[in-house]
């Protein structure tokens, strides 16, 4: 038996009031930690997919939509642009490199993207099994796609038109799986990638026999969905997008700008929610204080007894502070667990709806601050009860008995 064990026994002796303080703290810490985790994970994921893309060119519409569709592959595209116009921009001297991408089809809800091979290099995609595509209708499959749909090398995928699973699958085309990609923790994990030619071919209205001959002739009418651009110099980011937006009927959007705008939008909500969570933590501190204060009154005889057994004032005060700290520190730990389960839950939701997933169990720096805050709450709320116990007049308490 010692003072620490006694503190724990005291906590378990009052399960109801202990668990109310604990639950409030778990809730407060859990919400804040969940917000921190989600914010960091989403930002990381967003930034990870943004690497190497300075600007996106596509059809006129909402710039955010353009970014969401062609960088993150979670929204519908704004429309198509003509290949010829795109070529003009990619030949501009300010452009370092450009990648054309095309949409059109999906396979069971996963998007089939027609893209130049540079697209896979951009996301550092590595082929795990099989080979690169050589011919039209050959596809590389991202790791989440083949894991979820159990696709193997050599399988034939029958696509359907549009970007979402519609249920009605009017056979657009049959793709052959020639390669599987290693997980890269970027957007290509949830994509099926093929050559631009495949997508053009599927959507051609012409007869297959004429197809080969008409190829050159068709050139000017071909369209792409968007083009990802990296500049030669970062300075161009200020001038070039404006030029495109003002002088052409294309739209240029800067992903980093649009994403920070997006974060500002829902940052407000996050901020409000975290104030609420801090409030809950403060309330939990009050509830802790009230519990300790009441239990100290109820337990004044046993405190007096412990003193008459020879315990010092200091030992008794320590016991009170221990009780509070045990609760707040376990509240902090349970709160972190709660937030990790929350992250897993949100991640599974996101994976279902937009094929994104977030997973991380590492402790963020802000969470160490949260630990500090929990300890502080524990000490502050037990301070007054501890001082009262320290100043307790045992003779008077025992005489009143």
């Amino acid at each position: 038996m010692n003072i620490f064990k006694l503190s724990i026994k005291n906590i378990f002796n009052k399960p109801l009031s202990s668990s109310i303080s604990l639950a409030l703290l778990v809730l407060g810490v859990g919400i804040i930690s969940l917000l921190l985790q989600l914010n960091t994970l989403i930002k990381d994921q967003m930034d990870n997919n943004l690497r190497g893309i300075d600007m996106v060119v596509g059809a006129k519409g909402s710039p955010l939509q353009l970014i969401l569709s062609s960088v993150y592959h979670i929204d519908s595209p704004t429309g198509n642009i003509s290949l010829a116009e795109a070529e003009t921009i990619s030949n501009n001297r300010m452009v370092g490199s450009s990648i054309k991408i095309l949409y059109g089809d999906n396979y069971k809800g996963f998007r089939i993207v027609g893209a130049e091979k540079k697209f896979i290099e951009l996301y550092k995609g590595v082929i795990k099994e099989g080979k690169d595509w050589d011919n039209p209708y050959e596809v590389l499959v991202g790791s989440k796609v083949y894991e979820k749909l159990k696709i193997n090398l050599g399988d034939e995928l029958i696509s359907s038109h549009g970007l979402r699973e519609t249920g009605q699958s009017h056979d657009e085309g049959t793709f052959k799986v020639v390669g599987l990609l290693k997980p890269s923790n970027s957007v290509i994990d949830q994509l099926i990638i093929t050559s631009p030619q495949s997508v053009w071919d599927i959507h051609e209205t012409h007869d297959h026999d004429e197809h080969e001959n008409e190829h050159e002739h068709e050139h000017d009418n071909r369209e792409i969905t968007a083009m990802l651009i990296k500049f030669k110099s970062p300075m161009n980011i200020i001038q070039f997008p404006r030029q495109i937006n003002e002088n052409t009927n294309l739209q240029a959007a800067v992903p980093s700008y649009e994403i920070s705008r997006l974060f500002k939008l829902f940052g407000f909500g996050i901020e409000t929610l975290s104030y609420l969570a801090y409030l809950i933590i403060i309330v939990s501190g009050f509830s802790l204080f009230i519990n300790l204060f009441n239990s100290m009154r109820e337990r004044k005889y046993e405190m007096a007894l412990i003193r008459t057994l020879g315990a010092s004032r200091f030992q008794l005060s320590t016991m009170i502070i221990f009780e509070s700290l045990v609760l707040t520190i376990s509240g902090f730990i349970l709160g972190l667990l709660f937030s990790r389960f929350g992250v897993m839950f949100v991640s599974s939701l996101m994976e279902e709806s937009i094929n994104y997933n977030l997973n991380s169990l590492k402790i963020l720096n802000e969470e160490y601050w949260l630990l500090g805050l929990s300890v502080l709450i524990g000490v502050v709320s037990s301070l007054i009860p501890a001082i009262q116990v320290y100043k307790m007049n045992i003779s008077k308490i025992l005489a009143d008995a």
Partner: protein
């Protein structure tokens, strides 16, 4: 062993107590008897070092209590004095055995065999793992005696141990207390208004 001289105490200048001198030799038990309001509990708290007198001297085991600091008194108490209260108090979150272990921990001791032998001696060994609020009144009183003697005190102070008991139980409890004191080599001072106890003590003083 115990020598008091001209001990005076007052509560906030309202109640004033002047206690007669006590002189107790080693191996003697003492009964202090007095009506309500004559300062019995005050005297007991003074002897236990829970209160400090305003003037006079209390010499216990050759130590002058009035000259000790509150910390020294805590330490003196845990090494020398066991207290049996009028109403038994326990740490409610702990079992009987854990209460005794806590008392030992406070006195820097750890001796489970002693706890067992005390509980057996008091006939409550089978209650070791019961929470104290599950005990009957008589069992509670015996556990509070166990708490008082677990650290082998040289002196047991008992405050009204029998006041609420009938004649039969009164005699049982006082015999038990005396036996425990003898068995574990401690002296016993009982403070009470219960005149039935007079016949159990050779030496008594009246306040």
């Amino acid at each position: 062993m115990l020598k008091t001289k001209e001990v005076e105490f007052n509560y906030d200048n309202q109640m004033f107590f002047k206690f007669q001198n006590i002189d107790l030799n080693s191996n003697e038990n003492l009964l202090i008897i007095g009506e309500s309001g004559v300062g019995k509990t005050t005297l007991m708290h003074l002897l236990a070092g829970l209160l400090k007198s305003n003037s006079g001297s209390i010499k216990l085991f050759d130590k002058e209590l009035n000259q000790m600091s509150s910390y020294q008194l805590d330490s003196f108490r845990k090494n020398n004095i066991g207290i049996v209260f009028q109403r038994p108090h326990f740490v409610n979150s702990l079992t009987v055995k854990e209460n005794l272990q806590l008392a030992q921990y406070i006195a820097n001791k750890n001796d489970n065999t002693r706890i067992e032998s005390i509980l057996k001696n008091l006939n409550i060994f089978e209650k070791s793992n019961k929470k104290t609020n599950q005990l009957s009144q008589g069992e509670k009183q015996r556990v509070s005696i166990a708490l008082a003697i677990v650290n082998s005190p040289k002196l047991i102070l008992a405050d009204e141990p029998t006041s609420s008991l009938d004649d039969n139980n009164c005699s049982k409890v006082i015999k038990l207390l005396k036996k425990q004191a003898t068995d574990f080599g401690a002296q016993l001072i009982v403070i009470t208004h219960d005149s039935r106890l007079k016949k159990h003590f050779k030496k008594s003083i009246e306040l």
